[in-house]
């Protein structure tokens, strides 16, 4: 998110936003009403898919329009604790130009945070996404099991920018317009991405059953920040290994209780994990009891469509004037879990 302090000016004992940034506000972006007003209905399993379109606020076609910066995902509907119940939904995000934001549909509770009447625990995304005027993204919601969900409210949360001045919609503060321009350029090859196994991991009802799944990093480097999982049966253990280099991420096996979170409170990796193009993550799971299990595993992070290079200076190197480790990249992760006082 853009640091706003530079746009605040002190006047006597009060602090005033500079004229060009008065219209910057927290915002909930609701879907377009393609299928009538909310709540939407997600059809029963096997009965179809709900397609939802989120359109950027269409206002003032001035320079960069009125972008919406997506920072959180949140939904309501159903019961939050039923593992295979009303929230058993897969989601896929696509942009209007065909760009995918996930390698396969992911389980909604590894992607969206939960809200109820009080709207708590949204899911954070790890790279802001700017939805510019007239742009839109599509979300596809498909029930994996059970009947239709009739009270479904999927929202995007973030910041709405109106970088304009006055009613004539002239260009606003030059500095903030410049920042937005940089974010637009950045989003061309750096954008949020959710990585999941090619297919959900399915264990038959056999104690000790072992399954192996894999995730392939196909086109460009990927940076994972968090890990989350939903399973119909929590009695399993998991090991993650990168098979091209043989790099293992653990000296044993983790379980859902001690090693993996969900979309609202994902397991925040102590250090983000860079996977180069061509890397293959092998996920080995073992069922610990005689009940069947379906496991949905998702990594939250961002795609970095740029070459891998050796940097001349490695430690404490600022990346650019709009994005550094210090002002955004790690802080948003660590502050959320309380690691930074």
């Amino acid at each position: 998110m853009i640091n706003m302090e530079q746009f605040i000016r002190k006047s006597g004992n009060s602090y005033m936003p500079m004229p060009g940034v008065r219209n910057i506000m927290p915002f909930n972006l609701a879907p377009d009403q393609l299928t009538g007003p909310m709540p939407f209905t997600v059809p029963a399993a096997g009965a179809g898919t709900l397609y939802v379109k989120y359109t950027g606020i269409n206002n003032f076609q001035t320079i960069y329009g009125t972008p919406f910066e997506l920072l959180r995902l949140v939904f309501g509907g159903g019961t939050p604790i039923a593992p295979a119940g009303t929230q058993d939904i897969s989601v896929r995000f696509k942009m209007f130009n065909g760009r995918d934001y996930m390698n396969a549909p992911v389980h909604i509770r590894t992607l969206y945070g939960w809200t109820s009447a009080t709207g708590y625990l949204p899911a954070a995304i790890r790279e802001p996404f700017f939805l510019f005027t007239s742009e839109y993204i599509m979300a596809e919601f498909t029930k994996l099991s059970g009947g239709a969900l009739t009270n479904f409210y999927p929202y995007l949360r973030g910041v709405q920018y109106y970088p304009i001045t006055g009613l004539n919609a002239g260009p606003g503060d030059a500095k903030i317009v410049e920042k937005i321009k940089k974010w637009r350029d950045r989003s061309r090859n750096c954008y949020p991405f959710w990585l999941t196994t090619d297919n959900p991991i399915v264990h038959p009802a056999v104690a000790g059953n072992v399954q192996q799944s894999q995730v392939k990093i196909a086109d460009c480097p990927y940076e994972a920040f968090t890990l989350s999982c939903v399973a119909t049966n929590p009695n399993f253990e998991m090991e993650i290994k990168e098979v091209v280099t043989g790099q293992t991420l653990m000296n044993g096996r983790i379980t859902q209780t001690n090693g993996i979170g969900d979309a609202t409170l994902p397991t925040v990796l102590p250090f983000s994990y860079i996977l180069p193009r061509g890397a293959i993550l092998r996920i080995t799971t073992q069922q610990l009891n005689a009940a069947g299990n379906t496991i949905y595993l998702t990594m939250q992070g961002r795609k970095l469509n740029a070459p891998m290079q050796s940097f001349p200076v490695s430690i404490e190197t600022p990346e650019s004037d709009i994005m550094t480790d210090a002002d955004y990249e790690r802080n948003i992760v660590l502050e959320e879990i309380g690691a930074i006082a």
Binding site: K181, K182, W183, R184, D185, R186, R188, N189, C190, P221, E223, E237, Q247, L249, M250, N251, G252, R253, I254, Q256, T257, N258, G259, I260, G261, D262, L265, P266, T267, L269, P270, F271, S272, Y273, I274, P276, L304, N305, A306, P307, M308, Q309, S310, F311, V313, S314, I315, E316, T317, E319, S320, I322, M323, D325, E329, L334, I337, G338, A339, A341
Partner: protein
């Protein structure tokens, strides 16, 4: 907390132009008790350990938080084993419910633990539940691999490794075990003796108890309380106001320093009315070697 390395290089226009190769050698890592003991069976009211949690020669690891899956209550003792005298990270075993969280809400350590192929973490577990207890401990780590060819990174790692002998993670709990309150003896005053060679910077507090209680915390030497009421008074306040648990420990805005050889005194009074209220307190923070101050 971790050695800081830039991930991206960006052009003035904002476009990401390169990803740092070096970052391929810095990975997250889950450190568990060594195989085949990922799951440690602790017999009812019995003990198992010490069990090693060790990393390979591929590189050191910095443990930043702990989580656990367990069948029942237990006490845990962490030590650093470098092949000679084990260095305990606590004055006595503490309740796992005070320092081991879960994958969703891990316990964030106030100071990371550095381990490498020569220095391993080891753990001893004691059951409190009275039934066989399966316990799986995980330490989530940052791990810089040794293949990193960057001299600055190597220097930074050596510096961190050396620093841990001067300052590092430490836990204190009440001397003499948990506090037991009963209707016949509803109040108690117990002390925590600070090591005579090392200062202690108190940063986090967490507790597990059978029921509610009121508590006051004092410096044993000066009589000064951590709880400041009007007119310089102090008195016991409900535990849930200033004590958290392993998921959300109470964190001080700034660390509170107790000099070496001092005592922390706690006064507690039962408010639960239970036949027995057993209280496990854990004070987490950093030890600071006193020689560092005298030098």
């Amino acid at each position: 907390m971790s050695i800081k390395t830039a991930t991206l290089k960006c052009s003035p226009s904002g476009l990401v132009t390169a990803v740092n190769n070096l970052r391929l050698k810095q990975i997250p890592y889950w450190l568990m008790t060594d195989s085949p003991n990922n799951r440690v069976l602790v017999p009812a009211f019995g003990q198992n350990g010490p069990i090693s949690m060790s990393v390979s020669r591929d590189g050191p690891a910095e443990v930043v938080n702990f989580s656990v899956e367990n069948d029942g209550a237990a006490q845990v003792l962490f030590e650093i084993d470098d092949g000679s005298n084990p260095l305990a990270l606590m004055n006595a075993p503490v309740h796992i419910g005070t320092i081991l969280g879960t994958g969703i809400q891990p316990y964030i350590l106030p100071n990371a633990i550095n381990v490498d192929e020569l220095r391993k973490l080891r753990v001893t577990l004691t059951d409190l539940s009275g039934v066989d207890n399966n316990i799986r401990i995980v330490g989530q780590c940052y791990r810089p691999m040794v293949a990193v060819p960057d001299p600055k990174m190597v220097k930074a790692r050596v510096r961190k490794s050396n620093k841990q002998y001067l300052m590092g993670l430490y836990f204190y709990t009440t001397c003499g075990g948990p506090i037991s309150l009963t209707p016949a003896a509803p109040s108690a005053e117990v002390s925590i003796d600070i090591d005579n060679m090392r200062h202690f910077k108190l940063m986090q507090m967490s507790r597990v108890a059978d029921g509610s209680f009121n508590i006051d915390i004092l410096n044993g030497q000066t009589g000064e309380s951590l709880l400041d009421a009007p007119s310089g008074q102090h008195y016991e306040i409900p535990d849930n106001l200033i004590w958290g648990d392993a998921h959300y420990p109470f964190k001080f805005q700034r660390g509170r320093l107790f000099q070496r050889d001092q005592k922390i005194v706690v006064r507690v009074t039962d408010t639960s009315g239970l036949p027995s209220n057993k209280i496990y307190l854990t004070f987490a923070g950093q030890f600071i070697t006193s020689n560092m101050w005298e030098a």
